[in-house]
């Protein structure tokens, strides 16, 4: 079941740890994303798996074999680099064939496999074109084909879609997922784009400052973030400090002016996270948080609203379902279900 196992992987540069004790077990055929802001250690982790950076401590075991002793050019991994790293002096077909040449594959078989993979990524007509004459999206597909044609045990993707424009990125995301499902290749994707991680992965590894904050499936990671960092990174979040409201009849908590019954949800200690799309506008009531609509932005299929309240600015996202959204400057009241509140641990000690 555990195909690629990272055990306590650490990389130090002097006193600072770029990656600190990362442990992760990936199943064969699984698509895992390493997600986090720049400097969180995700790229360093990838480079350690690839063999370009030597770990300070920890182990990398692939299919039962320790990888640390294997040189980079013998690990049999497929890598797609952030800037694609296509060989500029070779055509697309030659680029793709390179790995097969290194493996000593016969010319005939090589030609067949190259043709097949180019067909799979939809670039048969560009086989003899040089990278300089290709668009970013086309280059990216060649890079992917080059990495996949060698039938790698693991596919490593280093922010492969970050240089593409938004529309192309969405297209490529779908294609990437579809290709990966077809081939069944175990894949590790490094990205800072949370929507990308959510869209593509079987599991997400959220990283921050070299450490793992949470490993979970996309839906779970989004709905049940374990820390303020994860909550804030995966989508938008409102963090409220809570106090137990002892004067209420049923167990309740107080957030600002609002007193919210817990409805069976366990009493949170400290802060809770509420997703903007879970907040509704309502009439004034004890369980609603009052505020003033500060800004509202129309985004087509939804409204993005910023409401100033006694506990800070609150972000609200409302679906464009025909119901009018209060205008800027009006007084509003917001409520949400108790189940939509998640207790979160603060990532840093707040003074």
């Amino acid at each position: 079941m555990s195909y690629l196992v990272l055990n306590n992987l650490t990389k130090r540069y002097g006193a600072a740890a770029a990656v600190d004790g990362l442990s992760l077990s990936i199943a064969q055929g699984e698509f895992v994303s390493l997600l986090g802001p720049s400097g969180c250690g995700k790229t360093t982790t990838l480079q350690m798996i690839a063999g370009f950076v030597e770990p300070t401590a920890g182990s990398i075991v692939l299919n039962g074999k320790e990888l640390r002793t294997v040189p980079a050019n013998r690990r049999g991994l497929g890598i797609v680099f952030q800037n694609y790293a296509l060989f500029p002096h070779m055509t697309a077909a030659q680029n793709v064939a390179f790995g097969l040449e290194m493996q000593g594959v016969s010319t005939a078989e090589c030609a067949d496999r190259v043709a097949d993979i180019l067909k799979m990524v939809g670039l048969t007509h560009l086989a003899d074109r040089y990278p300089a004459r290709m668009s970013g999206g086309q280059q990216q597909r060649v890079a992917l084909a080059r990495a996949l044609v060698i039938k790698p045990s693991v596919l490593l993707l280093d922010e492969p879609l970050s240089n593409l424009d938004a529309k192309l990125r969405e297209e490529m995301q779908l294609e990437l997922r579809s290709i990966q499902r077809t081939l069944g290749t175990t894949t590790v994707l490094v990205t800072h784009d949370q929507s990308e991680a959510l869209a593509l992965s079987d599991r997400i590894v959220v990283m921050n400052q070299g450490k793992v904050e949470q490993i979970a499936e996309p839906f779970a990671a989004y709905e049940q973030p374990q820390s303020e960092f994860v909550g804030g990174f995966l989508g938008k979040a409102n963090i409220f400090k809570t106090e137990a409201e002892l004067s209420a009849v049923t167990p309740s908590i107080r957030i600002g002016e609002a007193v919210l019954p817990l409805d069976g949800v366990p009493m949170p200690l400290g802060s809770v996270l509420v997703r903007p799309e879970k907040i509704l506008f309502t009439e004034a009531q004890p369980s609603a948080l009052p505020g003033l609509m500060k800004t509202r932005v129309f985004q087509g299929n939804h409204w993005l609203c910023q409401v100033s309240t006694s506990v800070g600015d609150v972000l609200v996202i409302r679906q464009n379902d025909g119901v009018a959204v209060p205008e800027e400057g009006t007084a509003v009241h917001m409520r949400w279900r108790a189940q939509d509140m998640r207790a979160v641990l603060s990532s840093q000690l707040k003074t």
Binding site: A50, N73, L86, F98, G99
Partner: protein, 267 residues
């Protein structure tokens, strides 16, 4: 730049160009004289002195000698420059600046000093006046030129290309042969060319370490001039100018003189 040159600029430019071309045109003109002494060919062009070169084996030998010497020195220099350039371009290490300065140091040393130094040294180790000595001296002198141009290419090389090749199973040598070398080729070729030209033209240092059997063309010309300035040596010089002009033209088309000297531009 937005504005074109005014009349003052153009007049200056014309005079400047005349200044640059004057001695060269002079040499080429006098070479065609029909007289037995230095004069301008006012009475018509004659090929008599060019023909005289063919009867003078010393100049022909020196020419061939210089060609061979240049070829060997440039090639050795380039072969040594490539790993050094890759080392400096690819890695950040302590002493990198110092190492670079060291490799480029021959540029700072006057050739007269190098000439004395090599003469003394070669005499001590018994290779004075030999071909080996000349090759070594020329290689050292042309190395910085070769190195600078190879370095320019190597610095522009994307490091992730090598990683990509490695990840696809290539050995270090294969990566160098199939990926790095083809991509730094412009620097290698232009480096070789400027190394060759520098060696071919070198005079000051070579005077000290040449011997009657190992004389380069510039040295032969210089020694002749020390003796007498006559139409023969002028014809030889003119021939050299014509060959160089062809070389200039080819170089400019292929690599671009701006790239060769200034380091930027097309290639």
């Amino acid at each position: 730049m937005f504005l074109r040159n005014g009349p003052i600029g153009l007049i200056f430019h014309t005079l400047f160009i005349l200044f640059i071309l004057a001695p060269i045109i002079m040499v080429c003109a006098v070479a065609f004289t029909g007289d037995g002494f230095i004069s301008l060919p006012v009475n018509g062009l004659s090929l008599r002195w060019f023909k005289a070169i063919l009867n003078n084996p010393r100049f022909m030998d020196a020419f061939v000698f210089s060609l061979g010497l240049g070829l060997i020195s440039a090639t050795i220099a380039i072969v040594i420059a490539i790993p050094s350039a890759l080392a400096t371009a690819r890695y950040q290490f302590r002493g990198r600046e110092a190492l670079m300065a060291f490799f480029l140091s021959p540029l700072m040393i006057p050739h007269i000093v190098l000439g004395l130094a090599f003469l003394k040294f070669f005499t001590s180790i018994g290779v004075s006046g030999t071909y080996f000595g000349l090759v070594v001296a020329h290689t050292i002198v042309v190395m910085p030129y070769a190195l600078r141009l190879v370095l320019a290419s190597a610095t522009g090389l994307d490091p992730s290309l090598e990683r990509a090749a490695l990840s696809l199973g290539a050995s270090t040598w294969t990566t160098f042969r199939r990926i790095v070398l083809p991509l730094i080729m412009p620097g290698v070729v232009s480096g070789w060319v400027i190394a060759f030209i520098t060696s071919f033209d070198e005079l000051t240092m070579s005077i000290f370490i040449a011997s009657p059997s190992t004389t380069t063309l510039p040295v032969r010309i210089f020694l002749h001039i020390e003796d007498t300035i006559d139409p023969l040596v002028t014809a030889v010089s003119a021939a050299l100018i014509y060959i160089t002009m062809i070389a200039i033209f080819i170089l400019d088309r292929a690599i671009g003189l701006e790239t060769l000297f200034v380091g930027k531009g097309r290639a």
